[in-house]
């Protein structure tokens, strides 16, 4: 049995896509009419339910979710375009259930080996909307639905045998819950990137040539329109598009001890116009380049325990990892899980000045579009704001349509990447502080903690690359948050000192009990989260947090020496000369 390992990373959109290019038939955009593919899916649901009705083991629920995407990306490095990609995809997910709500074919088999589960694969559909496309899609869905049905019947047999052989579960809740019928057809949207980006990216990417310590670097702009279509046997029909744009920069250097130092920064938007202009991107590039340059010279952070401030984004990731994953509903009934919070509803789990909600309905906060926003989840349930913690007291869990004891319906958090089974996932996790202080005051409080604890310094984490957490019973229920830049803060007035090479680790309950105060500076972390149901876009919003104590462990590092030869000279005016390579950038 493997531990439940949950990752949160910050890849660019393009990092999740195979490089591909031009596309199929243009699709109608803008009209709030059902896409032809939605009609095909609806017909396939109706046909399947009717045709299999008389089988010994008829399906009781069927949903066909279709995800169609159009994505564009453009990247540049060292003043030159590196890649131009355009990609069209359309995938179907089939959720066919036999049995009944109480017990169906998706029921977890206890003590089952890895090979006891039949594979689940995403169904590739034609990308166009013409008659041939729909005919081919209809044929493909028929074939795959038949396969799904036969697979479901086979698994149901195993489920019943497993039920008979194994002991009863602690949580006797049903396997699935009904949901209200929803019909909501919204206009299909598309994305585009203007030609002007080519010159902008060339210009911005040449900024890095000014920094001799930056070995690899790049600038990228991505756009994605992802249209979700859903038809199910309850009559639900949903069509909506999610549009995302991102502009990002990265810079990589290698420290003398071989550690790879990478800084990635980005700005998200829901329209092309919302993306940063060249000037802003240039500034972002300079900051990233300067940060890796500084990190290269920064001393290593040794293992340490002491007070720390997690600034906005870092605090968001911290909460996403150590709290957010543990309040996902399915973990409360899975007996392989650690179930940290399962029996703590109504109990104090956080300081009473902290509340936490997950709200996929909010579009933006702190001036930024949120990544975890959606109108309906992947099971066709309307997205809902969920109060998870109120003034420190645990209120509930994020729910898909898989009930748990005491909560028998979804709150609109069933999510997946195409090709995966749906589970409850986070959307926009928002940490709210009812008592907060300006950041400078929080910093003073940190210094007081350093003095009170007689520590040599405190720590401020101001940027992170991501993190992960283990939630299973086999392994320690721990987390790891991976900072990019950490500052030592001294009580004697010395300037803050940038350090590198440490990860923050801990266990959830202990760490929560160490939260002392919060800032008044909520920041948005936009990223994608990987877990059982694949990668889904998420946001985490949090103010800076002061922790009484946090533990640092050495970060895993690479061992390759920096390049033996200096970088080739850049053209006049583009970069400092090789001879200047050791000097500080302006």
């Amino acid at each position: 049995m493997l531990p439940q390992l949950l990752f949160l990373l910050l890849p660019s959109l393009a990092a999740q896509q195979a490089p591909q290019a031009p596309g199929p038939n243009a699709r109608p955009v803008g009209a709030a009419e059902p896409a032809p593919m939605l009609q095909v899916a609806r017909d396939a649901v109706d046909h399947t339910m009717a045709d299999l009705e008389d089988q010994d083991e008829p399906p009781y629920h069927l949903a066909i979710g279709v995800t169609q995407s159009h994505s564009l990306s453009l990247s540049a490095s060292n003043g030159a375009i590196m890649s131009r990609n355009e990609d069209w995809n359309r995938y179907a997910d089939l959720d066919l259930r036999v049995g009944e709500f109480a017990l169906d074919n998706t029921h977890k088999l206890l003590d089952a080996g890895w090979f006891s589960e039949e594979g689940r694969s995403v169904v590739r559909l034609p990308v166009g909307d013409g008659a041939d496309d729909m005919d081919a899609a209809e044929l493909t869905l028929w074939r795959e639905l038949d396969d799904s049905y036969q697979q479901a019947v086979r698994r149901m047999t195993k489920v019943r045998a497993n039920q008979a052989v194994k002991v009863e579960r602690d949580d006797p809740s049903d396997d699935f819950s009904p949901a209200p019928k929803v019909v909501d057809i919204r206009p299909v949207q598309d994305v585009a990137l203007s030609e002007a980006w080519e010159d902008s990216l060339r210009e911005v990417s040449s900024v890095f040539l000014e920094y001799p310590d930056v070995l690899k670097s790049g600038v990228e702009v991505t756009a994605e329109a992802e249209t979700f279509l859903l038809a199910n046997s309850e009559g639900t029909q949903i069509q909506h598009t999610r549009v995302r744009y991102r502009a990002s920069v990265y810079a990589v250097s290698v420290a003398d001890d071989g550690a790879q130092l990478a800084v990635y920064d980005y700005l998200d938007a829901s329209t092309e116009e919302g993306l940063p202009d060249a000037e802003t991107l240039t500034e972002l590039a300079h900051v990233a380049a300067q940060r890796v340059t500084d990190l290269k010279k920064a001393p290593l952070l040794e293992p340490y325990t002491g007070p720390a401030i997690l600034r906005g984004r870092a605090a968001g990731v911290f909460f996403h990892e150590i709290f957010g994953h543990r309040i996902e509903g399915h973990r409360q009934k899975d007996e392989d899980e650690g179930q940290t919070f399962t029996d703590m509803v109504g109990e104090q789990v956080l300081p009473d000045f902290i509340s936490v909600v997950d709200d996929p309905t909010i579009r933006s906060m702190a001036g930024l579009d949120l990544n975890g926003t959606y109108p309906y989840d992947d099971e066709g349930v309307v997205a809902q704001k969920v109060s998870l913690v109120d003034h420190g007291e645990l209120q509930g869990f994020l729910m898909s349509r898989a009930p748990i004891e005491g909560i028998d319906s979804s709150n609109g958090h069933g999510r997946r990447q195409p090709g995966n089974a749906i589970v409850a996932r986070q959307g926009n996790l928002i940490v709210q502080a009812h008592e907060s202080v300006p950041y400078e005051e929080l910093r003073e409080m940190l210094i007081k903690q350093v003095v009170a604890q007689d520590k040599p310094f405190g720590l401020i984490v101001d940027d992170i690359t991501g993190g992960f957490t283990l939630t299973g019973r086999v392994t320690p229920n721990s987390f790891n948050v991976r900072p990019v830049s950490v500052w030592r803060v001294y009580a004697d007035g010395r300037p803050d000192e940038l350090v590198r090479g440490g990860d923050f680790i801990g266990t959830p309950l202990t760490t929560f009990s160490r939260i002392l105060a919060a800032g008044d500076d909520p920041e948005v972390f936009n990223g994608v989260c990987g877990a059982e149901s694949g990668w889904v876009p998420v946001s985490a919003v949090s103010p800076s947090l002061l922790l009484e104590e946090i533990e640092v462990q050495r970060k895993e590092k690479e061992n390759d020496r920096p390049p033996l030869l200096p970088a080739p000279p850049a053209p006049e005016g583009k970069s400092k000369s090789v001879a200047d390579a050791t000097q500080e950038p302006a």
């Binding site: 290019a21 045709d51 060292n78 890649s83 166009g128 044929l139």
Partner: protein, 557 residues
Amino acid sequence: MIFLLMNAALATPPPGLMPALESELERATTELKLQDEAPPYWVSYDVVDGEFATFFAEMGAVLSSDVVPYRIMRVETRAGDASYDSGNFDAFGESNGVLSVRLPLDNDETAFRRSIWLATDASYKQAVEQLSRKRAELPPSDPAVSELPAMLPAEPVVDLSGGPLPLDPEGVKSTVVYLSKVLSEYPELEQGQAAGRDWQGQRITVSSEGTRLVTDTGYTVIRVEAVLKHSDGSRLRNGRWWVARTAAELPPMEEMEAEVREMAEWLVALEDAPVLKEYLGPVLFEEIASVELYRQLAAGEFVGTPPEAQGRGMFGEAPISRPTARVGRRLMPAGWTVVDDPNAQEAGRYSRDQEGVPGERVVLIEDGVVRRSLNSRIPSKGAEKSTGHGRSMGAERREALPSNVQVSAKRARAERALRRKGLRMAAQTQNEGLLVIRRIEPPAMSEDMDITFMGEGPGAGLTRPYEAYLLMPDGSEQPVRGLQFSGVDRRALRDVVLAGETAAPVGVMDGPPGPERFYIGAVGGLPGSWAVPAVLVSELELDGGGGGDQRVLARPE
């Protein structure tokens, strides 16, 4: 949308690239050096610059449509010297001094140099480590390497006159869509897919030996495959494919369509075909099936590239390596000849291989006996120079691979003679008819994981027949289904009793003999061609089976 496609408008070579390669080569050979280690003694840059156009369609509908620019550099750095170096040693997955990196699409010398600089640095460090691993496991005094040079010699060449051949993405796309649409006219089929790729580009080689070369590179491939679910639940497949140097050299559409229809009709007719549960007796391979018989069983016998040298085993024991081409060995009956000619105007043609060596016509088998082997610059016993067959996919090592192969028999017979003789032999072995194999699935399309994993190993066999029938004594043909070969290996080629007349070349996509052939995918691999006559093999064993889940859900009207 901002993306414009650059159809064959590639400059040759791209401005700024040659100066960038030259500058970094100069630095690599004069300045690049780790303390206490020798500098690289050999460096080669190989830039492949072009466009991939890849399409998949099902029943007339596009599943994916990709046209992407491609500019990748393979850098290989060798540490050591000409007698013993870091090359050709199995590092068990460790980096070995050969790597591929993406180069900028813009023709920007500064950006080119940055990429080349970092790649060369990494390649050199890998080569130094690889050399130390090799020294530890296989010292220069080891007989396995002491009698061989590090690399077979090759004359440097300077020729920048090459360039890419025309790309026809729209033509290939429309072909793929049209041929898959043809399959939609057969309602008995439950799946009908076509895939195609047009890849055209230029290969730019700059090496420390002085080679400065631009050559064309690429291929066009179309594959069509259909699936029929038999009423007993069997999943029956059939396929067709065409490989050419460019899209313009593909057969006319009518010809391809006719073949696709023939393929579909064969599948549909299998609804009434019996499962042949076992067969032991003579087997007649028609020409297309013969191509697979010979390329799957024979190619490994005349490829001279040895496997990468192995290190010591867990207990310090010397490894046992499988011999490659054994000159002097009888592989086929007397009178048989096998020739490989990269200059033949077929799908596998090229003027120079990926190491810049001119492609040489090689008579591999004379009178059934292996006389010579195909070689790249990877040394092997008995080989004095490369025959110009060094090719690989991506950053793999340059192994010798067949290009355009012609197999012929001195005493060729008409097809009816093969059938008559085969029927007599079938009767003698108590078979009701002669088993005739018309087509065999190419390894790239095989779904048989057991064969895939066995590759060329002891349990290797032939992939499954796509089309087979029993030729009855009255001349009728009874299609049969569900067959797979059992225990077939290269020794079967000696049991050929009769051969047909000279055959036309058939384009194939291939990889190195072995498991890699199975992994190249529907449109990947390296192009080649095989011309093999129909052959009658005295005895082969095949097992058969059928059945499976039958469809429960009614197909929508």
